[in-house]
Symmetry: C2
Subunit: 502 residues, 2 copies
């Protein structure tokens, strides 16, 4: 039991250091004055170096090996929790020992600088301001893949960090499975002759009112404001320092109602996952989702399956029109619903609809595989981006800010991350189908304004378990079967047939 | 030179860790949701443990000893900078090696919990909610003094942390020197028959306007908003993560104009110190003031000597009346000036005037010496507080929130801190006298709205040096003589004779 106690203490301190890193990052994106970036890069690099050192030193490895031999630990870490904790710890240690401390620090410093230059580049819509830092990051990520090791392609090594067990080939196969149906559905919708009036959503909506409405929806979803808060940042994100301190961000545009509204619901879905983790998992490697795709399933479920549905707006639309009587007083619920589900090719991924969204992911997936495999260099990226846009969506952005510079992720060095968005979408449809089987009156309840039963079911079935089960096993436990993209195809085909009268 | 490079790298990483600790603390006081406190206590304890371990391990001690033998380091760390850096590092190491890591963690956890219970206790004005945590902290501070060692009294060991070189006896002697003149001046003012109309300042002042006016003053003082920001917190403070990221807080009361106004100017004075540190000192132990008293000299100089002076308001009063025409349109500049310099016994230290302020410090100094020496226990503190109030100021608060619970400092375990406020006041008067000798037209410039020349002179003479010189030496370099309380006595006697027609 001594080894287990040692192990837990080491893991708890590691979790504390990681929470401090998360706070440095949250602050950089929300509150930090611009000139603070230089010192912040050092602070992040130093703490990441310490975390890496602690994950790889002999004290942790010795405690882990002994605990593995012992099997069960002190309560509650017996049975499945012991197995899960040892598995997640072993996985983190294995990945980390392969990366030299000095490399981890270099990567952290390069990411921090790239974030700043991306910020400036996007503001100026000038890719050249970002290119050098991005090229350095790509090079570092190739080196990372070489350190980690892989069989088929270096991209496998990066993808596995975000979606344990997934391979590049399997991901490509899933993307192919939904590609043609998405194109077919898009074609059918464009031929339907039904054209939503999106102008409804681009009127002037005072930001204070938008902010307040978003908070009301968060409250109804069951977000605990004593255990979290919402701020603004250029790219919305969720971070957590414990289940009792979960922070989300959104961005509010005066002339684009959906940005803040669905951004808040999306991040709120992530936040409910973090707030719903069982308290006894706090400060251990189990206090997280088993994969990014599983985390994303929750944000997608809330944003799209719930937040863009007819039953949801049956309850909320009268409240929205009360908040914006001049803008929406004369707009019917039906027209509003069609406008927020407007399907069309567009430039910005985060504002894309459910049908075209996955085409944005396919584009990024193919580009980053090529970058990491060395088939594409950073300076060729803007052209390659625009070619793929033409190929997949039939449109080309005029400014890099609306194209290759739109996403923050690469500036963090997050390659292998984007496909988890589509995996999350597929999980969300499969989980929502299970929810409807359990609650046949699901839609009626949502239409009455009840959302808490969803949070409770998700919390009980998914959130509280943290990373006790891996994504595939968790999905099977919740839905009774492995990943099946057909649920997503059924969901979009039914939903949009109804909306567009197909 | 290898030892020096090792030393610098170790010190830089230590500075990064300390910056992360400062951010955890800033966030706790400004942004953290209430339930986040439990995990935050662990995060702070873990990082403080790491900082302590790094300050005391053999790597740093070996590098320090070798660098001490070598004398000069790489540029700019030669001559006075080398001497200063080695002295400050040696000092920090010596203090730290005496404190076991496990003790430091225990203290950090206890402080974090005490901060939370103080917060609740103050809100409920119920000392009993704080008493247990405070007693635990006092006990820990007594143990800290025993670890550090002392000759005359354990309080010496604590005082030395904040004001290197100061002793309890010397501090008591300084406080005695100004005690009777303060009482005499207070008596003369009360007998003057001139009664300021403080009602001027307790009208309804919308908080947004107050906030905006404060930012305008900060701007004029030369605060760089690209390198800092202002937020709100229950107790105003300044913190810094680098000279390019300096954060201040204030609190804004709708019906008390001076609270935010002078709080902002006060913290702004601290912030200019931090923003004015020479960039080459960043991430070293020289990137700070040599003592808290010296830091406080800057906030006092700006808040009182400048911010409550007639020339300052000659420029700013028309701007204030423009911001609050309904409230101040009919109030003369003279009446306003008298109101903001209203001298009278009062309960709250941070709102006390320049004449009675030091009596509040004498009260705290005597109580905390008694607590640390064991002559007083935490549960006797409210009674002892109220007795001293009667003795020194002739008034007794009705609620503990207005008495023993008003200050945050003890909840941090900061015993030995309060006297630095009065030392800072004395330094500030002596420094202001030097400023007036250099700039004989000082008052005319301030009356024209020029404040930047003050920031420039302070930056050049004081701020940029950081902790290169100790407080006593720095004061001598700036003013030509050692600490001389007569400057303060002359300053208040002249100022208040004029204001109250004595």
């Amino acid at each position: 039991m001594t080894a287990w106690n040692d192990l837990l203490q080491l893991l708890q301190e590691l979790a504390d250091i990681q929470a401090a890193i998360s706070l440095l990052d949250w602050d950089q994106q929300t509150k930090m004055p611009p000139k603070g970036a230089g010192a912040r890069a050092y602070q992040l690099a130093t703490l990441q170096g310490i975390a890496h050192e602690r994950l790889t030193n002999s004290a942790l490895r010795t405690a882990l090996e002994t605990a593995e031999r012992e099997g069960n630990g002190p309560l509650p870490f017996t049975g499945g929790l012991a197995t899960g904790l040892l598995r997640e710890t072993r996985r983190a240690v294995e990945r980390a020992v392969k990366l030299p401390t000095v490399f981890v620090k270099e990567l952290a410093g390069a990411s921090s600088r790239a974030f700043e230059s991306w910020h400036r580049a996007r503001a100026a819509s000038q890719f050249s301001l970002f290119q050098g830092d991005l090229a350095r990051l790509v090079d570092l990520k190739r080196r990372e893949a070489a350190y980690i090791g892989y069989v088929a392609t270096p991209y496998d090594a990066l993808l596995d960090e975000y979606e344990p067990g997934q391979t590049t080939a399997a991901t490509a196969a899933v993307l192919v499975r939904i590609r043609q149906p998405a194109v077919d559905l898009l074609t059918a919708i464009r031929q339907s002759g039904r054209e939503p009036n999106r102008g409804i959503l681009t009127q002037h909506f005072p930001t204070d009112q938008q902010w307040k409405f978003g908070l009301d929806v968060l409250q109804a979803m069951g977000f605990d404001f004593e255990s979290g808060r919402q701020d603004t940042s250029p790219h919305p994100f969720t971070t957590s320092f414990s289940p009792a301190d979960v922070r989300i961000t959104t961005r509010v545009y005066e002339n684009e109602l959906p940005v803040a509204l669905f951004g808040t619901i999306h991040e709120g879905g992530h936040a409910l996952y973090e707030q719903g983790l069982a308290p006894e998992l706090t400060r251990t490697p189990l206090a997280s989702s088993p994969s990014l795709g599983m985390h994303e399933s929750q944000s997608r479920l809330w944003e799209n399956v719930v937040g863009r549905s007819a039953p949801f707006w049956h309850h909320w639309y009268p409240r929205l029109t009360a908040a914006f009587p001049a803008q929406l007083g004369n707009v019917s619920e039906e027209d509003f619903l069609l406008a927020i589900n407007h399907v069309r090719p567009s430039f910005i991924r985060v504002e894309a609809d459910e049908v075209t969204y996955n085409l944005h992911i396919i584009l990024r997936f193919e580009l980053e595989v090529a970058l990491i495999e060395g088939a594409l260099e950073a300076n060729d990226l803007p052209d390659a981006w625009n070619q793929k846009m033409a190929e997949l969506l039939g449109i080309v952005p005029e400014r890099d800010a609306d194209g290759v510079l739109q996403d923050v992720h690469w500036s963090y060095g997050s390659f292998g991350y984007f496909p988890t968005y589509t995996l999350g979408t597929l999980y969300s449809a499969q989980i929502a189908a299970a929810l409807r089987r359990i609650f046949p009156d699901c839609e009626e309840r949502i239409a009455r304004g009840d959302l808490l039963f969803i949070r409770e079911w998700l919390r009980e079935r998914i959130h509280r378990h943290g990373a006790t089960y891996q994504a595939e096993e968790l999905l099977r436990r919740v839905t009774g079967e492995p990943l099946n993209p057909q649920y997503f195809l059924d969901y979009v085909q039914q939903k949009y047939a109804l909306l567009y009268g197909l």
